[in-house]
Each structure stands twice: as C-alpha cells, then as structure tokens.
C-alpha cells in the first residue's frame, strides 16, 4: 500500500507565468526546430499524453501553465533560476531525463528558450485539454463523509431471538445461532471436558494442562467448573506471558533493530516485561493504549513504578525497525515517522494510514494532508537521540527510588573520597615544599602542572629523597587513587528504557510524492478527518499533541478502537476474528461476518472498563467456544471457511507454545519471569547463532523471554511461522512445510527434551513400561492411552531396542535411547501439535 514515489518521480515542474504575448515567426521557427523536438523526444514519454509523471505535462502551453505541485520552476528570462534548467544540467539531486544527461547543445537550446521568455506558440491548448479528459479512470479516494460502516459510530444491537435458545449459553451465542439458523445449519455439539481444558489452558497460558489440572476439572461436577478453570488460568502469571506475546506481535517487538544495521536494543526487554505485567494486572485497555502513545505525558504519578511503567510503555513508538545508516538524515527521520504513523494506524485503528504518505489513500478517505497532520505529532516527538550514521534511538532513565538513592549515595561517596584524596595530595605537596626550600622554584612550577603527582613521585624516587617521610604517604595516595577509579567505575547503573519525549513542536508540510525535498502546504497537527472532524485537531500547540492523540483514540465512542481490539481478542480465542483482516478495517479489508456481534462485544468491552480479562470470560463461557471441532459435511459444503462458526476450528500450536510445551512436558521448563537474555551491549552489533555468535537459545526459559533478533530470528520460531518482528502483525498464518518436520526429527531442543523426558519416565521405578506409556499420554495429550496405543508403543520400544542391539549399542545404553526416540515421536505427532 505504501508506494513511495521517491527519487526522480517526485520531480514536479510547475511552469508559471508563461508569457502569452504574440511571438515572432522567427522565434516560432526556432522553437519548432530546436525546442519542441527536445521536449518531444526527451520529456513527453513521461510528461506527455501517455504518462504524466509527477503530475506534470510538458506538451502544451496550458499544461505548462498549469505546472506541477511545487513552486515556480521556470522563471521566464532567468534560466539560472529555473528548476527545469537546473535538472537538465544535472546540477541538483533531481536529474532529468533520468536515463542520461542531454547533449550540451540541447541544454543550451532550452536555456536560450527560457532566457528569451519561454514562449510557446499559441493555439494548442484545446488539444491538450481534450487529451487530459481521456485519461483512464484510476481508483480515487472516497469522500471525507464516507458512509462506510467502520467510520460510523457503533450501533447498540440487541441479541436476536433464536429458535434453539437452549443452545445459547450467552447472548453471543444468539447472534451466532441466528446466522446459522438462517442458513439451516446447526452448531457442533459441546466438546468433551478433557479437550476443553486443554483448549482453554493453551489458549490462556500457552502451556498444556497438567494431568492433575485435568483430573480436578473432570472431578468437578459444578456447573461453574469451567468458569473456575478460566479464573484460575487468568490469575496465573503465565497468562501475561501468553497474551502479552500476542500484543508483542502487534508492537513489532524485537531485541535488535534489524534493517540495515542490526544493533542490539538491549533495553527493549523492559517494554516486553511491561506488557506482560500490564496483561497480568488486567490494565484497562484505554489506559494501556494511552501509556504506549503518551505515557511520558500522562499526569505525573508519585508512584515510581507507575511513572517508570509509563515511560517504558512509550518504547512502543521507538521499537520499529529503522535504517540507522542513512546518509540523508531528513530521509531517515521521515522514514522513522512513517513507521510510527503506520504502526499506530494499524494497531489501534486497523487503518493503513501509511498509504497516504505519497498520495491520497486510494481506497479509504485519508488524504495526504491527514497523514502529515498525524506525522506532525511524531515530528514533534523526540524518538531518536540523533540521526547520525549509525543513528541512536532515544532512551529515558527509569530508576526506582532505591536505585536513584544508591546512585546518589555512590556519587556522594565518590566526591567525598576525591576530596580526601585531594587533601592528602596537598599535604604531601606542602611537606615537600617545607622540606626543601631550594626547590621552591621547582615547586612553583609543580603547582601549576596537572600531572604534579607523577612528577613528585619522580622526585621521590631519586636517591637523595630515600627515607623521606612523604614516601609512605605517597604510596598510600597512589593506592587510594586507584581505588577511587575502581569505585567510580562500579557506579550502580541507572536503568534505561527506549522511550520518547516531546520536543519543539512543529507542523509538517505535505511531502509531495512522499519526498522530503519537494514540500507542499503546511498541515496543522490533527487526527484523520473522517474519524475526528473538527474535533480531531490538536489544541495545545505548545506540545506535540501525542497526549491528545492518545486520549482521542481511547475515547469510548471512537468508531474503531474498541472494535479493533475486541476483534483481536476474539481472534485469539477462535483463530480468526469476526472480521478476518484484523489490521485492516478499511475498504480493502474484510467485512465482519457478524457485524452486530462485533458492535455488541465492543460495547460490552467499553462498559467493562476496557477489561480484557472480562472479555476472555465473556467469550469463553459461550457454547461457541465450547463446541467440538467435529466435522459436518453439509456445513463444510455450505460454509467451508467456517465463517458462521458451525464448529470450533482446529488450531496448530504457535511456535512459542510448541517450544514451551516440549519443555513443560519434559519437566525442563524454567518458570523464571522477566529480564534479558540478550548478552549483547546496547547499540552494539548482534551476532546470530549460525555464526557461532553470542546468542544462546539453548535455555529452558519460556519462549517469550528469548531474544528476538530481527535479522536472524531463532530458527525454531522461523520454521513455525512466528510473526515477522519487522512489522506489526495481528494474525499469524500457519504453514505446513518440510522444515517443520526436519525440526521435529533433528533439532537439538527436541532431542534434548525427549531425552530428559525419557530419563524421567525411566526413573519411575514404580511403573512398568505400559505404565510409563500411559503416564506419557496423560502428560503430553491430557488423555489416557488406549490399549491399542499402549500395545503399539510397546512393540515400537522392542523393535527399536532390537535394532539398536544389532547396531552394537550396549544393553545399559539402550533403554534411554529407546525412550528418547519414543518421546520424540510423541512430540512429533500431530496430536501434540494441534488443539482440538
């Protein structure tokens, strides 16, 4: 969507003040012989009847008079002030024609023509005008009062009446049932309890239920047994690690910059931990949104944790991938702003505002002016420390009171030690002076020199000073000085986060065709007109406008914010949103399958005080969520995409859940929360595991804590369709490709964990092999093994063992090898990877 007509395409030539006076026949002849052919041959291909690149035509007086979008570029009579001449001379960045410089003679003719007033023979206007009107129709921007549903306020629909009201546990079900009934379809029956708790557990915490959790649920006959399970899962700190990760996909979270220069973003993890905390705390979504866009500008809080969280939240605006080595700092800055505008638009509003950088949006009512109105807000925001090569992003200090105190105390102590040391130096000096009047001159000289201590030491090493009392003091000074340097080095660090702050506010001018070298009219900082109208203007012009933007987005009556987020929550539970293009609610996006349900849910979301956890409960306590995945040939024929939700769609585990499940089932998972596993220093280049670099993924922490390296994603993530961390992404698309099978067969994580699991099972001396097999089924699949499965597994263990024996593997080494291979097969099975 973001076509950027950068470079020479941006070349726009408005030709103003073309003299309309009668020209002499002599001039006309010269024009026809020397000027028109040059224009025709060299320019019209792009600036004529076929194409009007840069909005410019150079083939008639009228077209010339109309010009392009920039200011005057031909000054009749003054070729040296005319852009046309500049560009054909190849003097500026814009060089025309782009394929090669004109011969000198042709340039000279153009110069002469301009010098003589740039006259054009009269009487050719009509032809040009008529040819303009035959231009093929292109998509154009809809009007600003576009009646498209997504730009309208939410409705307040009541749940419809349904025939089979027994099948409706919740109002949500009535919306869904009504559509199914209209098509003559029935929903799938409820799934069994084992499947349900496995589904819900992976769904909310990204891990398998333990056999004990399953058993407790089976043993609980209460009607609210499932609600209890949901509450237990929502209260687990594992919840934030799972749902925070969904948000990190949107925030294009990464621990390195990627793009051209892969510098470590060594403080990014604080944002990740903030997101996990916010989800665990059920931070109201409106507040969560505001913190990320304008946390630094929200009313100050005495609570340092709140203050630091808010500063950290604004890392959202800084995390994007950037071209850090761009020789043109203006381009770098505008590209970074573009990334911010685009991300904010997609994440919070489901709009592709980035499209309007170079031209009015072709499908949604977002004119270029709106883009630059929004971009001005980020132009007024300090995102970068500098735009040098290699550039550095902005960071802010986030110390706790204790850390600040420790730092102050350390500084104080350092100052104190320095002072003491200085006293000692002075004393030695005076002793030295007193002891040797002869050397007064030398001492005076000494006193002026910064390195006097070293010189004194030099003196003292001379034999005549041996035994001098000062010598011992001097040795002490030397020691103390070194100690002081050490002490200063050991200053407790002040933690920093990536984050933004306001800077001198400014409006931006429209960048014609997205090019920072061709500027149009200035636009006041504001929000998209189709959504805000007059209300959407930044009023406090002394500030960036970020806080106002955040507050505007977080309004309960914003047409998009609540709809977009509730759709994302729904998607998290069903694998698809009610609207299936979660990042595009515009004309080119999908349409909601149940528009009334979407609005009903969005209303409940706002009413709940934007509580995401309340929405999980609301959605999971429906018949729809608790349906079986069972296939129904008739329904599959009528609705192959399951848009009406006639069954629960089977889902593949995401990369993180797969890895975490393997660690968890094998008993290896380390539940430590938070902190950084990135060994690289801030803003230093990150290496990758492939090159034997410094990253180590062979750890047992949850996947959410593994470093996300943009130009070298952990290959397990890569293989299992992890979201590209270079762009905001609201939906991952699972693929089924051979490298995934290769991973299951050969990766060291799988081999290591299957061996650990094998060891654990073998250590269960209370169990025989069938008992171990049954235990494994309960742990890995959450269900008991059938007799047939136990028999098959036993047969496999025997056969594998026999083969190992044939290969000469010793008897004591065999059991573990056999069990390792069997556990690996369980990990590699579809049942382990898929959720019913």
């Amino acid at each position: 969507m973001r076509v950027c007509f950068l470079g020479w395409l941006a070349f726009l030539l408005p030709l103003s003040a073309l003299a309309d006076e009668p020209s002499t026949a002599g001039f006309n002849e010269r024009f026809e012989k020397k000027v028109r052919p040059v224009l025709a041959e060299r320019c019209w291909q792009c600036h004529g009847p076929q194409k009007t690149k840069g909005g410019l035509r150079l083939d008639s007086a009228e077209a010339l008079a109309k010009g392009g979008d920039t200011g005057p570029s031909i000054v009749p009579g003054k070729p040296e002030e005319s852009l046309l001449i500049e560009v054909v001379r190849y003097h500026t960045d814009l060089k025309m024609p782009p394929k090669g410089k004109l011969p000198e003679a042709e340039i000279l003719e153009l110069v002469e023509w301009v010098k003589s007033g740039a006259n054009w023979p009269a009487g050719e206007a009509a032809a040009a005008a008529s040819s303009t009107s035959t231009a093929p129709a292109k998509p154009t921007m809809p009007p600003l009062n576009d009646p498209f549903w997504a730009f309208q306020p939410r409705t307040d629909p009541a749940p419809p009446e349904v025939k089979n009201s027994d099948g409706a546990k919740s109002p949500i079900d009535r919306f869904l049932l009504a559509s199914l009934e209209k098509k003559g379809l029935a929903p799938a029956p409820p799934t069994d309890k084992r499947t349900l708790i496995r589904r819900a557990t992976y769904d909310l915490i990204g891990l398998p239920p333990s056999p004990e959790d399953v058993q407790a649920f089976l043993d609980d006959p209460a009607p609210e047994a499932f609600a209890k399970v949901i509450d237990r899962l929502l209260a687990s700190p594992r919840y934030g690690e799972r749902w925070g990760r969904h948000w990190l996909d949107l925030a294009r979270y990464a621990d390195s910059n990627g793009m051209d220069e892969n510098m470590a973003q060594a403080n990014a993890w604080r944002y990740r931990d903030y997101v996990i905390r916010a989800f665990n705390a059920d931070r109201p979504y409106d507040q969560f949104l505001k913190e990320q866009i304008a946390g630094d500008l929200m009313p100050s809080s005495d609570d340092e944790a709140v203050r630091n969280d808010r500063l950290t939240a604004t890392a959202f605006l800084v995390l994007g991938p950037k071209m850090l080595a761009e020789d043109d700092p203006m381009k770098m800055e505008m590209d970074i702003i573009d990334e911010q505008v685009d991300t904010v638009g997609r994440v919070f509003m489901g709009l592709t505002i980035g499209c309007a950088r170079c031209h009015d949006h072709k499908f949604d009512p977002i004119p270029t002016a709106d883009y630059y109105g929004l971009a001005g807000i980020f132009k007024s925001t300090k995102t970068m420390e500098n735009h040098k090569v290699v550039a550095m992003w902005n960071e802010r200090a986030v110390p706790t009171r204790a850390e600040l105190d420790a730092s102050e105390a350390h500084k104080k102590e350092a100052a104190h030690r320095k002072e003491t040391l200085n006293q000692q130096v002075k004393q030695v000096e005076s002793e030295l002076l007193a002891g040797s009047r002869d050397r007064l001159a030398g001492a005076l000289e000494l006193a002026r020199r910064p390195d006097r201590l070293a010189l004194i030491a030099g003196f003292l090493q001379q034999p005549q000073f041996a035994g001098f009392t000062t010598l011992t003091s001097l040795a002490r000074i030397k020691h103390d000085r070194e100690a002081l340097a050490q002490f200063e080095k050991a200053a407790p660090p002040i933690p920093k986060t990536m984050g933004v702050e306001d800077r001198t506010p400014a409006h931006l001018r429209v960048h014609l065709r997205g090019n920072h070298l061709t500027l149009g009219e200035e636009v006041p900082r504001r929000f998209p007109q189709v959504l805000g109208g007059e209300r959407g203007k930044v009023t406090d012009l002394a500030r960036s406008g970020r806080l106002e933007l955040a507050e505007w987005l977080a309004r309960g009556d914003h047409p998009l914010t609540a709809r977009v987020m509730i759709n994302r929550i729904w998607l998290g539970h069903f694998g698809e949103g009610i609207l299936r293009s979660p990042d595009n609610f515009g004309h080119l996006g999908d349409r909601p399958d149940h528009p009334e349900l979407l609005d009903w849910l969005a209303n409940r979301f706002v009413e709940s005080g934007w509580s995401i956890k309340a929405m999980h409960r609301l959605i999971m306590l429906t018949s729809a969520y608790q349906m079986s995945t069972r296939n129904n040939p008739d329904a599959a024929l009528a609705d192959p995409d399951n848009r009406l939700l006639w069954h629960y769609a089977r889902r593949r585990l995401e990369a993180e859940s797969l890895r975490d499940a393997i660690l968890s089932v094998s008993g290896e998972l380390d539940p430590t929360m938070g902190g950084s596993l990135l060994p690289t220093k801030n803003h230093a280049y990150v290496n990758n595991t492939e090159t034997g670099g410094d990253l180590n993924y062979n750890v047992n922490r949850r996947s959410v804590y593994l470093p996300i390296i943009r130009s070298g994603l952990y290959n397990v993530f890569q293989a299992f369709d992890f979201a590209d961390p270079s762009a905001s992404n609201g939906k991952r698309t699972p693929t089924t490709v051979a490298p995934q099978a290769l991973f299951m067969m050969n990766d060291k994580l799988v081999l290591r964990c299957s061996e650990a699991l094998g060891k654990r099972l073998l250590a269960r001396s209370d169990l025989d092999n069938p008992g171990r097999i049954r235990q494994l089924y309960l742990t890995a699949y959450g269900r008991p093994a059938t007799d047939k499965e136990v028999d098959r597994a036993e047969g496999y263990l025997r056969r594998f063992g026999t083969d190992l024996e044939a290969q000469g593997v010793t008897a004591d080494a065999r059991p573990l090898r056999v069990w390792q291979a069997y556990c690996q097969a369980v990990f590699a099975s579809s049942e382990f990877l898929y959720l019913d």
Partner: protein, 474 residues
C-alpha cells in the same frame, strides 16, 4: 499444467494459497517421486512450489547470483577510464552528489592495468585474468545506478527492490513466479550469506508465503564445506532407526487424522514428514562433491588455498542449478569495502573469486547449462573515482558495473556508460529496478504482472518502477 495461476485474472490471496498448501503436499510428494514425468503431466497446481510457466517463454530457467558484498570498485575492475589515469590527483571536474557516505578528495587513478580481451575486445583489468578469458560470454552493464549510499540500504535495494521497507527478495519473487524444478530441495538457496546489512531480509519472502523464502546454507565465516541446510542432520540416530521412528509417527498421525475427519493441514503434515526424510537424503548428496573429477575441482580452484572456499561455493551453485534449484545466490562476503588498502585488498578479493567464477562459467558452458542459466555478478554499489585517504574509495551508488552471462543475454557486449571518470552513470542508465525487470524478463516473467496482493494492494518486485533493458537481451 493449467493456466499460470498468476498470469491473469484474480491473484490468489495468501489465505487461498495457504489453504491449498496443506492438501498440496500430497501432490508435492508425488511430484518429487515422479520427477520429470510428473512435471510434463502437470502436477497439482495447488502446490505452491510446483514448476510453472512464466508469462511468456523465457530463455533463462534459473539464476546464479554471484554477490560481491561491500561494493567492488568499477574503475579497478570492469570500467576502464583512461582519463582517470591522465587526471590523477586533479579535482573531479564536476560536483559530487549532495549526499555522500564519506568525504573524498581528488581523482585517484586505478593502480591496475586494463587490457582488451577476446573477440569482443572488452577491457578488463589485470585483477581478473581468468574472467577476462570468458569476456565474450559476458554482458557488461557499465551504467548501473542505485539510490542508497550505505551497505544496508543498498543491499536491501539490490535484493528486494526497497531500501525503505521490508519486501520480498528477488529470489522469493522468482520462486513464487516459477516454482521450482526439484521438490526434494528448496527452490531458493543462498550459500554463506552475510547476516549484517539486512541479513535475513535479503533472502526473506516478507509477505509472500514462507515457502518462497531463501534457505540459507551456512553463513559468512562458516567454511563452505560445513554449510548445511538447517535441521538437516541428525547426529545421533542412524537413518534406518529414524525410519522406524518415522513409521511410528506416521502411524500415530494417520490414526489422529482418521479420528479428526478430513483435514488438509493434518494430511499435509503427514506428507511433509516424508518429504523431509527424502530431503535429508538428497541435500547431503549434493553437498558431497567427492564425485567431481580432478579437472572440475581444479577448474574451480579447489586445489588452491586462496580460491578453494569460494570455489566450493561456486561448485555447489552449479550442482544445485543442475538439479533444478530455481535461484542460487553465492556470496563473497563483505570484503569489497575498500575505504582504504585498495591495492592490497582488492587484489586479494579478486584472487579469491577470479578462478572460481571463470570456472563456473566454463563448467556451465561445457555442460550446456549456460544457455538457460542466468549468471549475475556484482555488488550493492560501486566506488568513487575520487580518493578516500590515499589508497581508498568511498561508496558510490551513482555509477557502477554489474555483468550478466548466459540465460539469453547478449554475449560479448557492453551496455551503458559512466562519465569520463567513472563517477556517474550517464548513458543508457540502468537502475537496480531496471536490472530486476530485466532479470524477470529473461526468466519469462513480466515484472509488471508478477504481483502479490497484500494489505489491500498488488505489490511487485519493482514497485512502480523498472524498465526492461531490451538492448541486453539476445
């Protein structure tokens, strides 16, 4: 097979495509087993990697891209500038660009001699004595230019067409357009790529389906004989035992599928395990070069310490190309950045690649593969004809040289010109977008029609730019 599925009419959405991927794996496995025969009959068009016809018949069937990371100097290699020698030490007689990466001084003559070679009489510097012997097979483009003066931006522009956004790489587009001819191997392989300057983004499929992303084999710093496909080797379990294990997995998966009812993804998964098992056998076989004759090894310089690493990469490229891999990139990594030490370092670089490249060209030609294999040589930009320090040159995207060979390009010709000092491209300029358009054209793909719908609009490798350089097409 059927109408090319992206030639005309509505383009398959990513979702459509992925939906078909699952079921397609049955066909995919079949295609691998039946090989040529299956292709002639037409494999399942839903297989996203099945070989497909382009928009029109193209001479080239595959590409080998020899990438010289760092930005090789054109005026010291393939763009002979006598005036630069004459005016050594004088100021550049015209303005330098507005944006430069470092400040440079006056004109710096090339320390290397140029001589005309072959029937075409194309001048090549003494740095490339072996490639010079192949000059009649080369199509030299002396008028390349790009938009970015930094490695990262320029690499991304060269590989993906964009130095601003993450976009699918050229190899991904080509694999998307044409599929690949060997279903037991990845369709797009990059040998020993560098992880800096865009890293994986230089071979990623971005928003194209992941099946089109490049498979890296090794990386910079990994000796090319150690370079392997990820997860391809199992060091602990012998193949026969792995087969037993696989049989169990497949049996369990089939049971699961039966219980679940028809499900394309589950079915696809079963087939993907068989494919993986076969890939495991096929890939090492290709990487094992023991079967190559002593003459061939010598041709690629495997007998010489200086040339053996890159020579092996080139030899692997031929082996992959020979087996139908659609796009193979070979990287001579990040050594061509001569801000200083020009004379010494560029001599070493050229020594490392000259014989292997000439060997590859001769070997392809000898096997009749050069006709339908397009070889592309070049870096992310060239270098200034003015000096940085006393013995260095700065980045220069405004005029530099790349060359093509085989695959239907005109042989023994020079296209385009830089100015008298080799600074700016001035005649028949070829932008990176034009190069992309031309490469696609040679493969039978129309760069304006090879599109993919993403975020509501059709994307192309060349964005809204690019013109096919017709003059270089034979």
């Amino acid at each position: 097979m059927n109408q090319h599925w992206m030639a005309a009419g509505p383009v398959l959405s990513r979702r459509d495509l992925l939906r078909s991927t699952g079921g397609g794996f049955a066909a995919l496995a079949l295609a691998g087993l039946l090989g040529e025969e299956a292709r002639a009959e037409g494999v399942d068009p839903r297989n996203p990697l099945a070989p497909r016809d382009g928009h029109f018949p193209g001479k080239a069937k595959r590409v080998i891209f020899l990438f010289m990371h760092g930005g090789p100097s054109q005026v010291d290699t393939f763009d002979h500038k006598p005036l630069l020698t004459r005016d050594h030490g004088k100021p550049l007689p015209f303005a330098k660009p507005r944006v430069v990466s470092s400040q440079t001084g006056n004109l710096l003559a090339s320390p290397f001699k140029f001589e005309k070679h072959g029937e075409s009489g194309i001048a090549v510097s003494e740095l490339f004595p072996e490639v010079a012997k192949c000059v009649d097979d080369l199509c030299m483009i002396n008028s390349m230019h790009g938009s970015n003066s930094r490695h990262g931006g320029a690499l991304l522009e060269l590989h993906t067409g964009s130095d601003t956004f993450i976009r699918p790489s050229m190899g991904s587009w080509i694999t998307y357009g044409l599929g690949t001819e060997n279903q037991d191997l990845p369709g797009y392989i990059t040998i020993c790529p560098n992880l800096s300057h865009g890293g994986v983004n230089n071979w990623s499929s971005a928003f194209l389906p992941a099946v089109y992303q490049g498979t890296p084999i090794g990386a910079t710093g990994v000796p090319s004989d150690q370079a392997k496909i990820p997860f391809i080797t199992n060091t602990t379990t012998p193949r026969s035992l792995q087969r037993i294990e696989l049989d169990l997995i497949q049996e369990m998966n089939r049971d699961h599928l039966e219980l679940s009812g028809p499900d394309q993804a589950l079915e696809g998964r079963i087939n993907s395990f068989e494919l993986a098992f076969r890939m495991q056998a096929a890939a090492p076989e290709i990487q094992d070069i023991t079967g190559e004759s002593p003459e061939t090894r010598k041709l690629y310089g495997l007998d010489d310490e200086a040339t053996k690493n890159f020579g092996r990469q080139c030899l692997m490229a031929r082996r992959f190309a020979e087996r139908g891999v659609r796009f193979v990139q070979v990287s001579h990594s990040y050594k061509w950045d001569q801000h200083g030490g020009l004379k010494k370092d560029i001599t070493r670089n050229a020594l490392e690649v000259d014989r292997p490249i000439a060997g590859l060209l001769k070997d392809l030609k000898g096997r009749g593969l050069l006709d339908d294999t397009l070889v592309v040589w070049g870096g992310e930009f060239g270098r200034t004809s003015t000096s940085e320090g006393t013995d260095g040159r700065d980045h220069n995207p405004h005029g530099y040289t790349m060359w093509l060979a085989g695959g239907g390009v005109k042989a023994g010709m020079v296209h385009g010109k830089t100015d008298d000092y080799g600074y700016y491209s001035v005649e028949d300029k070829v932008h990176v977008h034009d190069l992309h358009a031309t490469i696609l054209h040679l493969l039978g793909l129309d760069h304006t029609k090879l599109t993919y719908r993403y975020a509501g609009r059709n994307f192309r490798l060349t964005d809204v730019y690019g013109e096919v350089v017709k003059e270089v097409i034979g």
